[in-house]
């Protein structure tokens, strides 16, 4: 029979239920693929014993005809999610030996539905990065290469391990998190589908916090349908997270294949940024064409505060991070480096435990929250954020159902190529995705093309609050037209 790792999540689900394949076989095939793909450094921890035990339990239910929504489906978990009795590092030295005594709500929901955990996936340290180069456990290498070149490319970030593992068929889907683009940008770089749900759709409980008003968990998968299946299990109200919203989770899979005829799609003119490559421009035009052919109506819209989203983000996110990361003090958990007194112990612990990017962001956050600067920076940024959100609300009030934009300003770049001299160069990766977090909206990145170098490029759809269903319907139209993109195996 065909290699089980070549199946989509939906195909594997059907094969399991049709008893053409056992959960154990499916899991073993993935564990084998993971072992062979260690040069990609996608997993920071493989959990084969746990995976096999979970698969065997799923097989019992499958044999009894009592299959749950995700029974026997092997997944990778971003190492930002706390997993009970399984190390969770957030990609940081400060949590190198942290073993949670509790399970995050999102992963608990996946296990409730019968999914199998293959291991923990690499990410930028505390999800701060756009290339997975800030992880204490080393860069993730993208399974994609430029045509005729063996230059190692980044998979994007911060969910770079998740995107690389999904693209390289090292799991059927993965959990990820998105604070400024950390699901959608790596999905675009690896030819996978990434969904950042509406703020409040998924519980943040047990997810290592970066910037609490922006963080949101979501899936990365190989097809739009697979991402819809995963989100349905991940989402839902959780009393342990006061920002989690108490509204019913729809059957997202039912939105796949639904007609988009008559839907009004906004094309924000401010997303045509200076220096945007012809190929991104071409892809955007192509995307518009596909949606139009499917019966959607295109309208040009204006989001006048778009250019201020990224600078406002680089005040709000570091400010929240500096507050959230104050908990790493070498006392209750994590690394401790001793000093002459308690203050020196704190300072040395945080110097040694955090990497360069994390220290830089904590310091910026500390500065913008400090006495005398709070109003000039933080309050002003939060006002700008209100304006960014109003831009979207105005468009939606005028009947726009969703917006179409490019997902990233470029294709993937080489490891070590960006951000060396100026951190802002790296931040510009998120120029198209960050507005969505600032406004709390749902967004999906769907692969649309490969460029002349043979690298995938993605389109982004932005939806109304809690209308992920329209994004799945529209995303499927793009997938049907563009096809799917798989890297050629070299590892």
């Amino acid at each position: 029979m065909t290699d089980p790792t070549s199946l989509t999540l939906a195909e594997a689900r059907d094969a399991l239920r049709g008893k053409k394949l056992s959960a154990r076989e499916l899991t073993d095939a993935h564990l084998g693929a993971m072992e062979a793909a260690r040069p990609l450094n996608a997993y920071v921890l493989e959990t084969p014993d746990q995976a096999r035990a979970m698969a065997d339990q799923a097989d019992v239910r499958l044999r009894a005809g009592e299959a749950r929504a995700l029974d026997g489906i092997p997944l990778g978990i971003k190492d930002l999610f706390c997993t009970q009795d399984v190390r969770a590092t957030a990609g940081s030295r400060i949590l190198e030996n942290f073993v949670p005594t509790y399970e995050s709500t999102v992963t608990a929901n996946l296990w409730r539905d019968g999914a199998v955990m293959l291991g923990k996936l690499n990410n930028d340290e505390f999800a701060m990065g756009s290339s997975n180069e800030t992880s204490y456990f080393g860069s993730v290498v993208s399974p994609w290469r430029r045509v005729g070149s063996d230059t190692k490319l980044v998979p994007g970030g911060s969910s770079g391990g998740s995107a690389a593992a999904v693209a390289a068929h090292l799991c059927l889907g993965a959990t990820a998190t998105d604070t400024g683009g950390s699901i959608r940008q790596p999905a675009a770089f690896t030819g996978t589908v990434g969904v950042k749900p509406t703020y409040g759709r998924c519980s943040r409980w047990g997810v290592v916090a970066f910037a609490s008003s922006l963080d949101q968990a979501g899936p990365i998968a190989r097809t739009v349908r697979d991402s819809a299946i995963l989100l349905r299990s991940m989402a839902g109200h959780d009393p342990k997270d006061t920002t989690s919203v108490d509204i019913a989770v729809p059957d997202y899979e039912a939105a796949i294949g639904k007609s988009v005829k008559g839907m009004k799609i906004g094309i924000p003119k401010e997303y045509r940024v200076p220096g945007m490559s012809d190929e991104i421009e071409k892809l955007w035009e192509q995307g518009k064409q596909w949606l139009k052919e499917a019966g959607a109506e295109l309208v040009e819209v204006s989001l006048p505060h778009t250019k201020y989203a990224l600078p406002a983000y680089y005040i709000v996110a570091p400010a929240e991070a500096s507050s959230n990361l104050a908990r790493y003090d070498g006392v209750r958990y994590g690394l401790r480096v001793n000093g002459r007194d308690i203050t020196e112990m704190y300072e040395k612990t945080r110097r040694e435990g955090f990497g360069e990017e994390v220290r830089r962001r904590i310091m910026i956050g500390t500065y913008v929250l400090s006495a005398g600067y709070y109003d000039a920076y933080y309050v002003r940024a939060q006002k700008v954020r209100t304006l960014i959100k109003q831009d979207f609300e105005t468009c939606f009030a005028n009947g726009v159902h969703a917006m179409l934009t490019p997902a990233t300003p470029s294709a993937a770049f080489g490891i070590g190529e960006k951000g060396g001299a100026d951190p802002v160069e790296m931040y510009l990766n998120d120029v198209f995705t960050v507005t969505v977090n600032m406004a709390g909206l749902p967004g999906i990145a769907v692969p649309g093309a490969v460029d002349v170098q043979g690298l995938p490029l993605g389109l982004q759809l932005i939806g109304r609050p809690f209308d992920e269903e329209s994004l799945f319907s529209l995303g499927q139209v793009i997938e049907d037209a563009a096809g799917r993109f798989t890297p050629t195996k070299w590892w």
Binding site: N97, F98, Y199, Y314, I315, I342, R360, S370, G440
Partner: protein, 95 residues
């Protein structure tokens, strides 16, 4: 606005991050690059605009004031770098 070496040392201390003397100049450059980037926000007219406090309209939930969790001291101290019984051990803080 930009920061000088003295401010870099002050921020580092506020953030409880040790900074070696030879790192200060480099850090100052990076922090100033970020501050220069966010400077463009000053051109936005924000008069009469409320700062965002909640990205989705929601009311803070309340629940009955009862204990719902606890009796797990072993779990609480399990990851502590230094502990004695159910206590965290820290360097002496009171002379």
């Amino acid at each position: 606005m930009s920061v000088d070496d003295k401010t870099v040392r002050r921020i580092a201390h506020l953030a409880r991050i040790a900074v070696a003397e030879d790192e200060v100049a480099h850090l100052r450059g990076e922090l100033n690059a970020m501050l220069a980037f966010v400077e463009q926000l000053s051109e936005v007219d924000v008069s009469g605009v409320e700062p965002m406090t909640s990205v989705t309209p929601m009311r803070m939930k309340s629940r009955d004031d009862v204990i719902t969790d606890g009796e797990i001291p072993d779990d609480i101290v399990r990851n502590a770098p230094a502990r004695e019984d159910h206590f965290f051990v820290v360097p002496k803080v009171v002379e």
